[in-house]
Amino acid sequence: MQEHILSILIFFPALAAMLGFVVHKDGAKAYGITVAGIEFFLSLWLWHIYDPMVSGMQFMESAPLVSAFGINYLVGIDGISLFIIILATFFTLIGILSLTETRRVKDMIITLLFLEMTMVGVFAALDAIVFYVFWELSLVPMLYIIGAWGGPLRIYASVKFFLYTFTGSLIMLVGMLFMAYFYYQATGQWSFSILEWYRLILPANFQMWLFAAFFMGFAIKVPMFPFHTWLPYAHGQAPTIGSVILAAILLKMGTYAFVRFSLPLFPDAAVAFMFPIAILAIIMIIYAAMVAYAQEDIKQVVAYSSISHMGVIILGTFAMNVEGISGSVFLMIAHGVVSGALFLLVGVIYDRRHTKLMSEFGGLASVMPRYATIFGIMMMASVGLPLTINFVGEFLSLLGFYKQSHSYTLVAGTAIIVGAIYMLSAYKKAFFGPVTKEENKHLKDVNRTELLGLIPLVVIAIWLGVYPKPVLEPINNSVEAIVQLMHDKAQTPEAQKRIPNLATTGTMNSVSEAH
């Protein structure tokens, strides 16, 4: 079983989704919880049997699909993908547990399980085509969730979401095909295996074009400024569960793909594009934070805050050193936990009041103290308070980029200021002050079902903030391998200078060895 664990993880939810059609609709939620629970425990078991000291891929499986063109079903995980997979299974479970939707629950459960398959698939895939297939497949359930259970503008939002991301990924597909063709030219064999591609050293000008093609697909998914406008609509219209999964997992596909594809495949291009991308990331951070500050709808605040935080992730990724990339991968997980929790929390109040406008709330802290406390903890995590999960990621990402540029980091660091501004003012509007609206005076505090989803998230947000080692260590080992690979592949002097060589450490850190 151990050698097929990844296949089981990928296809078990899909199989269960198929079987779900025959389940009676009253038992659908219980069925969903069972399946998602088993899946989650399988992923935990995966963590248990994962060897954190190994930096390369583990649990690899391979089966030929189209052998003439070197397309294989190739899956495997390393420290980078392991935790995002666990995050995906975890959030599916949390999402189903705290599901308050009453319309067509069975369809929702089946869709979610199908979505789970695609999510695990994306992060486990090591073959570009398999990756692409899962990447695109993940759009379908999301489209359905937004389109079928969403708000009044759901059709517009879902079509926009679909077409926008689809356009980007088509450009990415062209890049993949060209990459494979190039591999064929160089070696005389077709291969879509990412690991094979890693070995290829591309001429710098090819790298630029390919990097740009991949960038389109990833940047729209992240979403990076100026490709971000689908996100507020998708979040604004999606039901709570849709927003949670979208923010927690689906956005991470883009940043994960940067680490998996763009950096190791095109190190020279990545270095060449470092500063333009850093500028985009800084614009994302500050601009999205400002837009978040101007919002009237609390869900949009969280949505724009996601964009802002993704900017920090991008910045950490393009720091090109272990600190930065580890930090950005950690921040992916951190942001998944925190933004997922925030969307769940927004869902709680939406279920009660059927509005998300902050002007409709006010003084909720006295009516719903537990809710306010949990929201406050998550808000502080989002703001990046030390000893919460976000701080570790944000600190490392910014620390990493500081090595590349001081001034850029100083500007990007305003994230911690502007983040506090929009979050605190939103919290003040919704929770502080007197209770002005009559309907708010007798709102029920969070109930047991909701706590079931929220408490684990609070625990994780603090646990990994205080003790990030179990997660950070495997990430660190895998990131070190990637950075070393990038350094070895780098051709331009600029890239060789910017990407540290880990094989001979201690040039700069002679002091640190003293202790």
Partner: protein, 629 residues
């Protein structure tokens, strides 16, 4: 000793968590007693650690790894040395007193349990701040106290002004924290470690500009927490919080964290005397600047807050001039008498039903005798009259400035000392002497609970003796770690002239305050409408300027970014592309009119176009290839 260290550190956390469990339940005195008891435990542990450190040892423990990636290694490490043990004593003493006092002060408040949870959490954060053995650990505490300060300023969250002040404090501190983070980044990338011992041992090998920048960035961080100009406005607004909070956080402990940072990082600042001078200059400026605002203010708590600000300025003068032990000494003495002053103000507020304007009080000394005595004592200590604490610590700073030959700083501080005495006794006179103006408002004041007064007693004792008794042992202990420089004016005549002169000057200022305010309060309309009075009364219009220059434009810019840029430009372009494609389809679908002959014609046209393209590309390709050959 490690056990005592952990006890001192974690007792407040335990108390906070347990009290937090009852946060939403009804008031139980149990939470107050428990947290106070645990604080006392922490205090006792600190005392034991103090005796250990006085014996010449230090304790250094590494609890566990926190962040380790790449070359970065940051543990949860704690150190109890001469500096941190001093801070621990200050923190645990004041916070124990404030906890016990708060049991009485908050006894009628709905959020009693919540209050103690926050307060103990603050103490924990503060202990982390002072005990950490690396810069990032310090940053944990740094942000932690910021969070607790936010929670406690906004404790009465139904009040708009309170929540506004809480957010202002948090955000302004964040601005400074960014600078501090940058400083930390610089240290890491230049030295590869954030541990104090490693950093301080190797700081001198760095090039001068790098050390200077590190010093500047760290100091900007300190400016935020210690509310130095221009990041000072939050401190006065923070008085919206409950008064025990003001005593503990915004007078005795948190705001002095900036001074602590500079003292702790003294090996860095010793390398860069120019930055030190700038710090001292800023400190002197703030000392005077804040004192002037305190002269005319009509809000009891704000007056004390400005006084705190002014005293922080003094501390920075000492720290900037390299007299680190003097700065730390004044920090300690100030914590005692300022906390006492605040708690006294809390008694007055209780008696006056939260009235803050001293002009509406008066003659309270009959009904609140003990509070009167305690507050007068604290004010005398603050004014620096022999033999109370302020004389030993504050006048020492004056001497430092004199000995270091910074005569401008010296004169500024001297004048400020006079102002300090004046506004302190203006307050005392207005509150406790003169007519009972409060009777017009139908208030009948009463003395605070006896146990609250008893709780204040230790602070009163410390405010009296800490200067005289502690100075020598403190000096001997702390100079093991800090540069041991004695500031003596060698010429005896000069020394006596200065000391007596200063004392006389201060006493004159006190006498003037009594004369002006102790009898009948005459409001001089002409002075009040004058430019200077208005300038001072409106805090130099700085809050207003900040509002107009930063807050409002930022909000407007944000709205612009959303409504104009995001919706009308970025999103409109995306929708525009989609709509163009859609409309092209709408327009061209007439081609598919179903008429076979017109379709055939389109087919032929397509064929011709393709042919032309094929020929053109072939020709072009050949041309390029021929050129290449």
């Amino acid at each position: 000793m490690e056990l005592y260290l952990y006890t001192a550190l974690f007792s407040p956390l335990v108390g906070s968590l347990i009290a937090g469990l009852f946060g939403a339940s009804r008031k139980t005195s149990f939470t107050g007693l428990l947290t106070s008891g645990l604080l006392l435990t922490s205090f006792i542990s600190s005392v034991i650690l103090l005796t250990y450190v006085m014996a010449g040892h230090t304790v250094h423990v590494e609890m566990m790894t926190w962040i380790a990636t790449g070359d970065l290694y940051i543990p949860f490490g704690f150190v109890v040395d001469q500096v941190s043990v001093t801070m621990m004593m200050v923190v645990t003493t004041v916070s124990t007193v404030v906890h016990i006092y708060s049991i009485g002060y908050m006894s009628h408040d709905k959020g009693f349990n919540r209050f103690f949870s926050y307060l103990s959490a603050f103490v924990f954060s503060m202990m982390v701040l002072v005990m950490s053995d690396n810069f990032l650990g310090l940053f944990i505490g740094w942000e932690g106290v910021g969070l607790c300060s936010w929670l406690l300023i906004g404790f009465w969250y139904h009040k708009e002004s309170a929540t506004w002040a809480a957010n202002e404090a948090f955000i302004m501190n964040r601005i400074a924290d960014l600078a501090m983070l940058i400083g930390i980044f610089m240290i890491y990338w230049n030295l590869g470690s954030l541990q104090y011992d490693v950093v301080f041992a190797h700081i001198s090998i760095l090039p001068m500009p790098v050390i200077t920048w590190i010093g500047i960035f760290l100091f900007i961080g300190a400016m935020g927490k210690s509310a130095q100009f221009p990041l000072h406005t939050w401190l006065a607004d923070a008085m919206e919080g409950p008064t025990p909070v003001s005593a503990l956080i915004h007078a005795a402990t948190m705001v002095t964290a900036g001074v602590y940072l500079v003292v702790r990082a003294n090996p860095i600042y010793s390398e860069i005397p120019d930055v030190g001078n700038a710090i001292a200059a800023l400190g002197a400026f703030v000392a005077m600047f804040a004192a002037t605002m305190a002269l005319v203010n009509r809000d009891m708590k704000r007056i004390i807050a400005y006084s705190t600000l002014s005293q922080l300025g003094y501390m920075f003068v000492a720290a900037g001039l390299g007299a680190y032990w003097v700065a730390l000494f004044h920090l300690m003495a100030h914590a005692f008498f300022k906390a006492l002053l605040f708690l006294g103000a809390g008694n007055v507020m209780h008696a006056m039903h939260d009235e803050l304007d001293p002009f509406k009080m008066g003659g309270l000394k009959t009904s609140m005798k003990w509070t009167w005595i305690l507050m007068t004592l604290a004010s005398v200590a603050l004014a620096g009259i022999y033999p109370l604490a302020g004389f030993f610590s504050k006048d020492l700073i004056l001497e430092v400035a004199f000995v270091e030959q910074h005569y401008i700083l010296y004169s500024v501080l001297l004048i400020t000392a006079g102002m300090t005495a004046f506004y302190s006794f203006r307050l005392v006179a207005l509150i406790f002497h003169g007519d009972k103006r409060h009777l017009e408002h139908g208030i009948h004041p009463h003395e605070a609970y006896t146990f609250m007064l008893y709780a204040m007693a230790p602070l009163a004792i410390l405010a009296v003796i800490s200067g005289m008794v502690f100075k020598t042992p403190y000096y001997l202990m702390v100079t093991e770690l800090l540069p041991a420089v004695q500031y003596h004016i060698h010429n005896h005549t000069t020394f006596w002239i200065m000391t007596i002169g200063t004392q006389l000057f201060v006493i004159l200022a006190i006498a003037y305050a009594y004369k002006k305010y102790a009898k009948a309060v005459k409001v001089d309309k002409k002075v009040e409408s004058g430019f200077f009075y208005q300038l001072l009364y409106n805090q130099y219009y700085i809050p207003k300027i900040y509002d107009e220059v930063f807050s409002k434009p930022y909000l407007q810019l944000s709205k612009l970014a959303w409504k104009e840029i995001d919706l009308k430009i970025v999103d409109a372009i995306v929708d525009g592309i989609a709509n163009t494609i859609y409309r092209t389809g709408e327009k061209t679908h007439t081609m598919q009119n179903g008429n076979l002959s017109s379709m055939l014609r389109w087919m032929v046209i397509g064929l011709v176009v393709l042919l032309v393209l094929a020929v053109a590309f072939t020709a072009g390709y050949n041309a390029v290839n021929l050129q290449a050959m």
